[in-house]
Symmetry: C2
Subunit: 586 residues, 2 copies
């Protein structure tokens, strides 16, 4: 037996007990005739004392221990003279009697501390050491706890977890598939699922009624920051439901998680906002509602001044930053530079200071009277001491820019506390997106999303304005998940495919098995999928999903630790009946 | 709202209530002026009554319903005059007031009944309809329940579920990997994991202490019956443990599952048997211990009779089939034919009848006296009325043949009830297997398995006899899972690689990242993995794993329903910088 207790559980009440512990040497120090070793495992840290007077050999052995050595210690629990209130075990120490080195350790390439000295690349290459750090491990403990509580809630509500296949068929719609050559069927390939969408709909056709799965999905994309080629989804589907049923069920899930994992009780229903309002008020379909600072439209109030920037703009929008009228020239220039960055792309920024004394200063003062500007402030509810920031231009673009500016101001004003959580349903998404380049409509969600029943008569006549029965759950400005009520009617599905420019043949090729399944009695159904990695990272208060994944890949899709992907043997290629077709070296 | 209740929940106490149900038409029949419809959903079947007198139009609409139509019915719960005791809802029926057809259905290609008329291929092609059958769906409900209880037990015992990557690196040891070409790293491939073995060991190096995962694994094998290219494993690992700790923990898991899923309480510890004893007594490393009929060795008692079949045999073994002395010539010939089948490969079978009257009949009577044969019976504990069956030949081969014969007799005698469960640990597996063809040792489990501490001094001198610290959990003759204590010492691991004929370079190439990780303080650790598909199929009392998988593949690795694998677009191949290298048509 290697241990009687973990390194996290001994307390003052255990004093006098003979115990055996095992773990890693966090640090050791000599003081007087004693050597103190902090012994660490997943559960905590316990101080071990080796007394030179009592046992010189043992103490000398302890002095030879290096950082991260794995040791076994037998000894007696004793009350500490100088207690450490920061440590749950801080009232006791172990007076060592025996010491066994179970394994030595090379000096780790970075310190195993909350604030490590290791750079990103180094920590990824030695991820197994990075995972020893409390900060990283606690994220994965949180992930485990969340997955467990998600399953508990869904099980309580009659959902069945069903595993859908990983080796499926490529459907070249949307993002690129990863493919897998089939040795037994030469020339043919499996694809890895981007989501179990069609399978979960088939399970509804099968009468499973309530399905979920916490499941790996795959997308061969050029990785932007914070995307992973493999990611985890909480995939859910229900039969005989309308939108309201789905929202209630999964609002319940999110509240359950906050309650049981973060001890946060959301008593009120989550607010709901139409997609159109979210665009109008926040310039985004995933507004960060931890703070207000909603957009105010000023086009009508600014028209005809002769100031071309505003007069020629389709849209003039403002936000009011409370208490920022004292911003300096330099600070304002900084904000202007911020919105002019290529990622944001504004041409410039206008501002108005509603000074505390009631006077007005503005970058557009020569085009407008104080009275005119006061009218803007009244509309925006600006108070003395507030700063108004204004952007003008094409509507959609300017809203996006103003969205970025709003988030920036929120951050500067400390309104985006990662430990404060604001949840929101965004509903009534458009069903279609028009793409100028290819001159066709695309499904904003996916081609199985049902139109809003009130808009069905506009499908043919006013396609672009049709709303979907689709919804997103947004938390702190992140899309946590989204879904829709699906089309269960074959005729309506045919219409959708036609509007999306899919020929009958293409539709049959890509989705034939689903369409055929629908001929045998598909129930009304709908569902939703949460991004599990994102869900965990939000609750962990992290910006990136990478540190809630045990073994993540870098932006080139590479696992730095195991060095994958890698070349494979020619014999493997031969067996698979494929060949490399690399461009010739130049 | 589509329903107030499911089709499984209304009882006599609900009589008089106005309800709304939704589901599928299981069957309908006209009787007198009434039409009865059995409405089905996942939760049960409820009878709906349409009365022609009360509402002729409604009744006529009901008469037009076809099998598997999806309908919505509003009506009143009423007590049935002729109750159906076989149905939980059998005391009530719904007097229909409104009927809506939510979706029609083509006539399904086979009946949606427990005993369907559909053949295997047809059911696989229309798996979404097959899944509507109670028999199939209840297997997946069992699977969900088991997965949930497994997680509950492991969570209670401090295990963390950690997701390990699916896109990893090919290690051409053991079975073939499925590979995934990397578009971002042309010429390089990911591989799909055959198991998370190395990752779980890395998590132990990371100090995760107790890890588990219910996880898809992949093996590109030529599929024998009842193998799937993707399968699910319950993968577990623990730190600071010896074999006894692991056995206790996972015996506890198996007992927990039987208790909470099957309501079966195993009060006694599971028996343990060495691998050598399992071979000696059952000719197998996964004996079916639902019944006895252990092997009895007779070589010493049969020697020197002049009967060359026995005299020249390395091994003579027998089983005793209780009460079978009345077997006819034809039955005995049938058994002889059974063991002579090429899959089994015996040259013949000998038999002795210990007749009820004390007399002896035997196929080898001319070589042995009754006294001699009685001695065999005494050793075997044969009683009057029993039949002894004897095989002779090379030890390992003959034991395998006798194993098959024993299982056959067990089946014939009804001793292999699928609802009776016998669990067993097989321990002390050999560490190595010698392969004549390649003249080298192979790891019987895998190259990280620790030798039995008592046998370490024999590693170099008597390699073949070294026992591993490896164990299998066997249930009803199936290997439910297995594992081992791992080598945590780099020097011992080097020795193992050398004994397995892996050069330092090969070992470094294949397992380098694990070996490097071990340099930074690896704790003693061990674990085990259960085959989840098999675990479910055993509890479901099924022979095949296929019907506990929602969307299985056939023996050619093909998903008949979605028709995968399939050809992919040339543009996909181009992007991946690979080409097909198919043999030319002849």
């Amino acid at each position: 037996m290697y241990r009687t207790h973990t390194c996290g559980e001994l307390r003052l009440a255990d004093a006098g007990k003979e115990v055996k512990l095992a773990g890693w040497v966090q640090r050791s120090r000599k003081m007087g005739g004693m050597t103190f070793v902090d012994l660490r495992d997943r559960y905590g840290i316990t101080q071990i004392v080796f007394e030179s007077d009592a046992n010189q050999d043992l103490c000398e052995a302890a002095n030879k221990l290096g950082r991260e050595f794995v040791i076994n210690v037998t000894g007696t629990v004793a009350e500490r003279t100088s207690k450490n209130a920061n440590l749950p075990t801080g009232e006791i120490e172990i007076i060592a009697k025996e010491l066994t080195v179970l394994n030595k350790s090379d000096v780790p390439p970075f310190t195993i501390e909350d604030d490590t000295d290791g750079g990103d690349d180094l920590r990824m290459r030695y991820r197994y050491l990075d995972l020893r750090r409390n900060a990283v491990r606690s994220n994965l403990e949180l992930r485990h706890r969340m997955a467990f509580e998600i399953r508990r809630y869904l099980d309580q509500h009659g959902f069945l977890e069903v595993e859908t296949p990983v080796l499926i068929k490529s459907t070249p719609e949307g993002a690129r598939d990863f493919v897998v050559p089939s040795r037994m069927n030469p020339g043919e390939f499996y694809a890895l699922p981007q989501s179990p969408q069609t399978f979960k709909q088939l399970l509804m056709v099968s009468g499973f009624d309530r399905y979920f799965q916490i499941v790996k999905c795959f997308r061969d994309e050029d990785l932007r920051a914070d995307r992973q080629p493999e990611f985890t989804q909480i995939d859910c589907e229900m039969s005989f439901v309308e939108q309201e049923d789905v929202l209630q069920m999964f609002e319940g899930l999110v509240k359950h998680i906050f309650r049981y994992v973060k001890d946060i009780d959301f008593k009120e229903p989550f607010p709901r906002m139409t997609w159109a309002d979210a665009q109008r008020l926040y310039g985004s379909d995933k507004p960060d509602t931890r703070f207000g600072m909603e957009f105010v439209e000023l086009k009508d109030l600014t028209a005809g001044s002769g100031f071309s920037v505003m007069d020629e703009a389709e849209y003039v929008g403002a936000i009011v930053a409370p208490g920022c009228a004292d911003y300096t020239r330099k600070q304002l220039d900084g904000l202007t530079d911020f919105v002019k960055r290529p990622q944001i792309g504004a041409k410039g920024m206008m501002w108005v200071k509603f000074e505390a004394d009631g006077s007005i200063k503005s970058s557009v003062g020569k085009f407008f009277t104080d009275e005119q500007i006061k009218a803007w402030g009244e509309r925006a509810g600006a108070n003395p001491g507030d700063l108004m920031l204004i952007l003008a231009g094409q509507t959609a673009k300017t809203r996006k820019q103003l969205c970025e500016l709003r988030l920036e101001m929120g951050s500067r004003l400390g309104l985006r506390d990662p430990q404060k959580f604001s949840c929101l349903w965004v509903i009534d998404f458009p069903l279609f997106e028009w793409d100028d380049e290819t001159s066709r409509y695309y499904a904003m969600h996916h081609p199985f999303t049902a139109p809003n029943p009130d808009d069905i008569d506009k499908l043919e006549t006013d396609t672009g304005s049709v709303r979907a029965t689709a919804y997103d759950m947004v938390v702190n400005g992140n899309e946590l998940g989204g879904g829709s009520i699906r089309i269960h009617d074959a005729a309506l599905q045919d219409t959708m495919f036609r509007l999306l420019g899919l020929s009958e043949q293409e539709a049959q090729y890509k989705f034939g098995f689903l369409m055929n399944a629908f001929k045998f009695g598909a129930p009304p159904h709908g569902g939703l999928a949460f991004g599990f990695d994102r869900f965990v990272s939000i609750l962990a208060g992290l910006d990136s999903i990478r540190d809630v994944i045990a073994f993540p890949k870098n932006n080139a899709g590479r696992d730095m630790m195991i060095d994958a992907p890698a070349e494979i043997d020619q014999s493997q290629l031969d067996e698979l009946k494929i060949a490399l077709a690399l461009p010739e070296e130049k």
